[in-house]
């Protein structure tokens, strides 16, 4: 136990050191930097999970697949069935029955002594739980989109900066070679000066009408699931399908902003800024509880003259993914190892030694663990994640108000539009409030 505590303190100190010039502290054991070789249990990153539904369990398994890199000791979920499934998986990996379970993240954060936490929750919970975890100085692997509103995002970013923790967003496309290659070609000018970016995200899906109100299943703590969102009766819709309801998500648009808009920004060098003007339209279902836009099409203008169109993929020739258009050609990249360009020669270009080499990671979860161990920034830090989802959220506001939104990406405010400015945040239902940083 003593050894574990000491090591944990070290991890935090080195994270703090990373804020300035990064210095490898000489007390790092060689095994911590060497990747490979059997690691003694005491060297593993001690981790817990909040949210053990589909994405939470997927991340948990991805961490366990790293072998010996992490040790889960506690899990937390408002659904006791999900919780039991997570405990079973962790216990099996640990070959014991020690994994502790929590139904309330506050108790989890209070009692557990962790290096890191993996969080995968509906978006409406991100503002509170990300900020609380970061305020506890935990290193966080957090699912995208990192916030439901811009105000939530600003709070989370401030908390991460203040507490100097390692943050990894679940934007795992960054850790795939073809996405990085596409972005690297673009940022090094292989298509010339970037003029225009098209981001194709999935179309919205089928609705389910208005299902009858029903009894909350015994495994579900519905009040806690809703948390800061408005009180509504249970209709059998919670896990995964929360993403079709505006109280919890913005639909495919905000779900995928953290992937393809993130990649678009990475290649165009827009990771630390935002658009100055956003205008567009959405198509909203007429009937039923699924109320997110099923189609959307908006244009973002950046101060440097770049324009980015974000649109449901059926409206695009290239379909899903990111396409950068420069004055010398275009590059398109998407899942399924898709990397194409206007001229195949562009894809054969070699990036020279003195050119920009983007951060390289081959495994998104390993990258987080390595970053926590060494106190170095992970491949998907908080600000780019915030800037990616901001584009989606500003698009959402433009569609909802029917107006062109004038955004100040430095001060992060909307100019001259009180109504739109109100949509930057949402009051929380009692007793919840956005934590102070």
């Amino acid at each position: 136990m003593t050894q574990k505590t000491t090591r944990r303190v070290f991890v935090r100190r080195s994270a703090a050191a990373a804020a300035g010039v990064f210095i490898i502290p000489n007390i790092i054991p060689a095994s911590a930097l060497g990747m490979g070789g059997k690691r003694p249990p005491s060297d593993r990153v001690i981790i817990g999970a909040i949210g053990t539904g589909s994405q939470g369990m997927s991340n948990l398994r991805d961490f366990l697949d790293l072998k010996d890199a992490v040790q889960f000791i506690a899990v937390c979920d408002v659904d006791s069935k999900h919780l039991a499934e997570a405990k079973e998986t962790v216990d099996k990996a640990n070959k014991n029955t020690d994994c502790r379970t929590y139904g309330d993240f506050r108790e989890f954060l209070e009692k557990e002594k962790l290096d890191a936490v993996s969080i995968a929750l509906p978006d409406h919970w991100h503002g509170i739980i990300y900020t609380e975890a970061v305020n506890k100085r935990l290193n966080v692997y957090g699912e995208k989109p990192i916030c439901r509103t811009i105000k939530d995002g600003q709070t989370i970013v401030a908390a991460v900066k203040k507490n100097n923790i390692i943050w990894q967003t679940g934007s795992w496309q960054r850790s795939q070679a073809h996405f990085r290659r596409g972005a690297e070609l673009v940022i090094n000018g292989r298509i010339g000066k970037i003029k225009f970016i098209e981001v194709g995200l999935p179309d919205g899906g089928r609705g389910i009408g208005t299902p009858p109100v029903q009894e909350v299943p015994p495994e579900m703590n519905w009040e806690m699931w809703l948390g800061p969102a408005p009180e509504v009766p249970y209709r059998g819709v919670s896990h995964w399908n929360w993403r079709w309801m505006l109280d919890y998500s913005g639909g495919q648009l905000t779900d995928w902003a953290g992937h393809h808009i993130d990649i678009a920004n990475w290649g165009a060098g827009l990771e630390h800024t935002g658009p100055v003007e956003v205008t567009g339209t959405g198509v909203y279902p007429m009937e039923g509880i699924y109320n997110v836009p099923v189609e959307y099409d908006f244009l973002c203008k950046y101060a440097g003259g770049i324009e980015m169109r974000v649109v449901n993929a059926s409206r695009l020739e290239h379909g899903m993914g990111t396409t950068w258009y420069g004055d010398l050609g275009w590059v398109h990249t998407d899942r399924g190892n898709i990397l194409t360009s206007s001229d195949p020669k562009i894809l054969e270009e070699v990036i020279g030694e003195n050119e920009i080499h983007l951060y390289k990671s081959e495994n998104h979860w390993q990258n987080f663990v390595d970053s926590v161990r060494t106190g170095t920034q992970a491949i998907a830090p908080i600000e780019p994640a915030y800037r990616a989802i901001s584009v989606g959220l500003l698009g959402e506001i433009a569609m909802e108000t029917g107006q062109t939104i004038h955004w100040d990406p430095v001060n992060e405010t909307i100019a001259g539009n009180e109504r739109a400015s109100r949509l930057l945040g949402r009051p929380y239902r009692k007793p919840w409030s956005l934590p102070t940083v």
Partner: protein
């Protein structure tokens, strides 16, 4: 709005009288749908019955701006056929409804008819006047689809298709259901959906069928579409029916919004939201809507569920005008959370 109806600009002739489907139902529906736009005044004429002498059937097409064919049967006389072709060649508009042997616009190879069911329609041409601004994927209920149609030539554009493989990520063969053809100086719009079933006729009452027909008819006459994309066009999320072929009116929305409860249709509320979006920040329009919404907050007969929805909208688009009415609800335990939410955002 009824008070400002102008005399319809265009005269339409609907030709029917022989068909595989119940042409009495379809032709009357087409008339109602076209006349609902206020652009058309339609007349229905029926041909002689199947097998009877067609030589006396000689409508004067030149008296009309639009001819609609709801007809599948014995060939017109050569004179009538030639005069119809002349009419389109000289700039007349033509709509061909739901016939696999429609006049020259598409040719069929080995056509088959699908079973009756719902389909997802996908727009193939998003920049055509008929489809521009409409959702690109929408559900269309209870129809039969002709399989195996092909566009007749290069002057024919496929505007929308369906796949018999109806899965969400379908990549199967796509059947054209809406087509547009330039012919001489005229234009032909072809719709292959909206087949009556002599039950509820959902396919005919589908807002997607109705609106594309209305827009297609206008395009056939003028080459442009002035009709705005309606708020109730169906989406990938679900089909939308228009009972009586009519869209919801502004008055109807505010007559019904106060009765909303969480088990009922959300359409009136969706309409309100679309009105707010369409106002695009126009203060006068928004204040008019705000006053209507405050009227519901003040109405003791209105439901709590309706007031909750109204409070959510006012929380971002309201002005000082709505604040007293919101505060007046603060003591209502059912609404106090929502009142607090609205006031916190409005401050």
């Amino acid at each position: 709005m009824p008070s400002c109806r102008k005399a319809p600009q265009y005269k339409a002739l609907i030709i029917t009288g022989q068909s595989d489907h119940n042409w009495g139902v379809s032709s009357e529906s087409l008339k109602q749908i076209l006349d609902e736009t206020d652009l058309f005044s339609s007349t229905i004429i029926a041909t002689p019955s199947k097998g009877e002498d067609m030589s006396g059937f000689k409508p004067d097409f030149s008296k009309y701006d639009l001819v609609v064919l709801d007809y599948e049967g014995d060939a017109f006389s050569e004179t009538t056929n030639a005069s119809l072709i002349d009419y389109v060649n000289n700039g007349g508009g033509l709509v061909a409804y739901n016939s696999e042997s429609n006049p020259g616009a598409v040719v069929s190879d080995s056509v088959k008819i699908s079973e009756r069911r719902s389909f997802e329609v996908r727009t193939a041409q998003i920049d055509h006047p008929v489809t521009k601004g409409l959702p690109v994927r929408w559900l269309h209920p209870d129809d039969v689809i002709v399989q195996g149609l092909k566009p007749a030539g290069e002057d024919t554009r496929v505007l929308a298709t369906v796949s018999l493989d109806n899965s969400y990520f379908s990549t199967g063969r796509r059947e054209p259901v809406l087509l547009a053809r330039n012919f001489g100086k005229g234009r032909i719009f072809i719709t292959m959906i909206g087949t009556p079933d002599d039950k509820e006729n959902n396919a005919l009452h589908c807002a997607g069928f109705i609106v594309t027909l209305q827009r297609g008819a206008e395009w056939a006459v003028t080459g442009n579409v002035t009709q705005e994309a309606p708020f109730d066009f169906p989406t990938a999320a679900g089909a939308v029916l228009r009972p009586g072929f009519k869209s919801i009116t502004y008055e109807e929305v505010f007559d019904n919004l106060g009765n909303y409860d969480i088990e009922k249709s959300t359409k009136y509320f969706t309409y309100l939201q679309s009105q707010i979006r369409n106002a695009a920040g126009n203060e006068k329009t928004l204040l008019k809507l705000e006053k209507k919404m405050v009227g519901i907050l003040k109405n003791e007969e209105a439901s709590d569920d309706a007031k909750k929805l109204i409070l959510r909208e006012l929380s971002w688009m309201g002005t000082d005008y709505c604040i007293p009415a919101i505060k007046a609800l603060a003591s209502d335990p059912e609404l106090s959370d929502d009142v607090e939410f609205a006031l916190a955002r409005l401050k």
